[in-house]
């Protein structure tokens, strides 16, 4: 079963992201939630993850710092990270891609936007939504 971690300081955003993922991830998946990047690292101390979906702008530890920590870790660098942010534009996307983000999606997301990324990652069959 896939383990997906969702990080966002807004509970509304976490729920919205989870609903989108539940629609597009056809395999059984378990979801964990964190309010910031440090929360993600705390979860990873206890169990591995197959995907991290993170906001960028969060208190305590933001998404960019989380991305750097993940990609510089010998044990965690393999975990794909999708950044979902209200602060996306081409220049910011380039910065995050260079840090190792798998994809950068601008808020608000939708199942149609998330589907291609998840399909490539988990080998899901794309079905019309």
């Amino acid at each position: 079963m896939k383990h997906i971690i969702i990080a966002d300081d807004s509970s509304t955003a976490r729920m919205f992201i989870r609903r989108c993922l539940e629609i597009v991830v056809s395999q059984e998946a378990e979801y964990s939630e964190a309010e910031n990047g440090q929360g993600v690292l705390d979860i990873l101390e206890k169990r591995p993850a197959d995907l991290i979906v993170t906001d960028l702008n969060m208190p305590v530890m933001n998404g960019a710092d989380l991305l750097k920590r993940i990609k510089s870790s010998p044990k965690k660098h393999y975990i794909p990270v999708i950044v979902i942010t209200s602060a996306a534009n081409p220049e910011k996307e380039q910065e995050l891609e260079q840090l190792g983000a798998l994809a950068i999606l601008g808020k608000p997301i939708s199942p149609a936007v998330v589907m291609p990324v998840i399909s490539d990652l988990f080998g899901e069959e794309e079905e019309p939504l």
Partner: protein
């Protein structure tokens, strides 16, 4: 197109796109109005823009409209289980998303922009130099106020 007209068009698009995608409702830009039209005690959420200019965007609406939008976003709640904290969090996420969409439209592609974290606001200022855009949403009314660098 004048700067204000340009801002108005971008504000409308940012609000309309966000409400359509998150709340599944249509937002119609209305004529300039009176803060009283938002009801006796509107609630709000503001977010600062830190880069490439300093500014602030604030979203105001009645508590009833905020509850309705929150239920649309979350899908699973009814009014009785909808706490004030949940409604305010939804409002914060709305202004966060609207401001991000707006800044993406206003910022050149070769530059980045930086937003702060949303903060709650009580009451809409009655006298202000800010620009306030009013929207009709379903049977409610909301306002987006822009200040600082937005309006230069």
């Amino acid at each position: 197109m004048s700067l204000i007209a340009d801002l108005k068009e971008n504000v409308y698009e940012a609000v309309a796109e966000t409400l359509e995608s998150m709340v599944f409702m249509e937002a119609l830009l209305d004529e300039p109005g009176d803060p009283e039209s938002l009801g006796p005690s509107p609630i709000g959420s503001c977010i600062a823009v830190n880069k490439p200019f300093e500014g602030r965007a604030t979203l105001f609406m009645s508590i009833e409209l905020a509850q309705e939008l929150t239920m649309n976003i979350l899908g699973a709640y009814d009014e009785e289980t909808l706490s004030d904290a949940i409604v305010r969090d939804a409002l914060a996420e709305l202004i966060n998303t609207i401001a991000g969409r707006l800044m993406a439209k206003l910022t050149p592609e070769d530059q980045t922009f930086e937003l702060g974290l949303p903060e709650p606001v009580e009451g809409i200022p009655r006298e202000t130099d800010a620009i306030i855009f009013y929207f009709d949403v379903d049977e409610g009314r909301m306002a987006l106020m822009t200040e600082g660098g937005f309006n230069v």
